[in-house]
């Protein structure tokens, strides 16, 4: 059996497939090659491409950094240390309100006082936390 297998392999080795009409195949290959010329890229173009790519990445990084910075500054500005109280009809200050000038001034002063107290409290809040 070993001999038979060796014989068969030798036979397959010696029976070389024959290429029919090799000139047609060569022509076909050369025609295909002419359709696909080797694309030559100049070194200057390659350098420019690399430089532009690097610049684009750098600019994108800078843009993202600036955006983050701007967002951070807006967030910190949005924290208002002072509170503006709205007028409430049942508040202590509103109860002082009358038709004469003096009561209006008193109400105004009352609000000023309350605001200043609350503002002081807000100012001292971070200190209290620490």
């Amino acid at each position: 059996m070993e001999d038979k297998m060796e014989q068969l392999i030798r036979s397959l080795r010696e029976s070389k497939p024959v290429l029919q009409h090799p000139e047609n195949l060569t022509d076909s290959i050369m025609n295909q090659i002419l359709k696909k010329p080797v694309h030559q890229v100049s070194p200057i173009l390659l350098w420019t491409r690399a430089a532009l790519s690097s610049a684009a990445v750098l600019l994108l990084g800078l843009f993202i950094f600036q955006q983050t910075e701007a967002e951070n500054s807006m967030t910190s500005a949005a924290v208002k240390p002072f509170i503006e109280n709205k007028l409430e009809l049942d508040s202590t200050c509103m109860q002082m309100l009358g038709s004469d000038h003096l009561s209006i001034i008193k109400t105004y002063l009352c609000y000023l006082q309350q605001n200043s107290i609350e503002n002081e409290l807000n100012k001292s809040y971070p200190l209290q936390r620490n």
Binding site: M1, K4, M5, Q7, L8, I9, R10, S11, L12, R13, E14, S15, K16, P17, V18, L19, Q20, P22, L25, T26, S28, I29, M30, Q32, I33, L34, K36, P37, V38
Partner: protein, 180 residues
Amino acid sequence: MDQNTLNDLIASSKRNDGNAFRQLVEYHQSMIYSLAYRLLCNEEEARDAVQETFIKVWLNLKKFDTSRKFSTWVYAIATNLCYDKLKSGKHFSRSLPLEILNEVISNEDVEKKMIDSELGSLITTLTDELTPKQKIVFTLSDLEDLETEEIVQITGMTASQIKSNLFLARQALRKKINRY
């Protein structure tokens, strides 16, 4: 073709000389066809594989390292193309009818029985149970009669991988012959 002429043709082809490349194609196409036919067992597909191989050679010629053997490089490109075709399972090859295979194997003078038109069918029938890698290693080693070192360069496999694939291929072939 001597080595100096071959080197001149490669150098000229690298400078986009079509005539030089034509001579390279004429010189190498038969051996590439032989490999492709033994792997794909189909004339049309083998011709297509040869064409695709030389187009790839032309497009990548500038990357070719002249310290390497040109034919080995071309073989490697052709083998990769055939491997992809074998792996995809889309290629078509005709098996030999059982009675003819039986006749070929049981004949005392098996070598005389081989005729060119049936070669592809016979290889297909014998190797249809091999994996693409086993078929490639078996073809390169036993049919193309290449050294292990050259097969390493062509396939990128290690010597031990080649030996184990060849062992499994021969074992499968032996089992097949035993059946007839």
